[in-house]
Symmetry: C2
Subunit: 134 residues, 2 copies
């Protein structure tokens, strides 16, 4: 659907289906101030910004971030800091998040290497079995 400004809108059910989550979750995110959809009477109307946010929420969760941290990132992104102090605080925040991401990159790299080993051992065993078997 579209609203009065000809923007695309979504119902809670549509978004739930698209992102494979329940309406309950979407309402919960709103309760936690991660979303703030319009209303038509009682029913919620989601715009494209809300949809993008849902995507970001999923991404954050895949990285093991809590909803509070994700909200924090939203505020970082939306923030219109105007004082030097605020701006410097923001730079600190971005650097902090960056550190976490770097750590995760390291972690992933190491885990991948281990998976390589497991897989190699596994393939060796398989080859061995086939040799014996034939």
């Amino acid at each position: 659907m579209t609203n009065q400004n000809n923007e695309v809108t979504y119902s809670i059910g549509e978004l739930a289906k698209e992102f494979d989550i329940t309406p309950r979750s979407i309402r919960f995110y709103e309760e936690q101030d991660l979303l703030s959809p319009e209303r038509t009477g009682q029913t919620r109307i989601y715009c494209n910004k809300d949809r993008v946010r849902l995507k970001l929420i999923q991404r954050g969760k895949r990285l093991g971030f809590s909803l509070a941290e994700i909200k924090n990132l939203f505020e970082l992104y939306d923030s219109n800091a105007n004082s030097m102090l605020q701006l410097e605080a923001m730079l600190q925040m971005t650097e902090q998040k960056r550190a976490i991401l770097r750590q995760q990159l390291d972690d992933i790299q190491m885990l991948m290497n281990e998976l390589d080993e497991v897989e190699k051992r596994c393939r060796d065993e398989l080859a061995d079995l086939q040799k014996r078997g034939s």
Copy 2:
């Protein structure tokens, strides 16, 4: 300390301090079958393998894995599969985990890009303020 085989051992307190967690957590991991330390009477004695596992647990948690998934990875690694079926199941598992890690890599890349943007906007603002201020 060292045990009868001249291997290095640790008390629960030492490991707790080293990894900056509580003894409670370490005992909980044992309850969940992620650790299985020796005992001397009632008190737990941890060897180097246990220490390594704790490191892996931390890493898994940083990536947002549940303790059950981490245990799963341990089993993957320790497993001495011998049948073709088991081996193929293991290869499936490693590929599955790999897919998750690839997804996380993508997620991290995108988040990093966004942080870049936030930071850039921030620096521009700061430069602007300083120009005005001087």
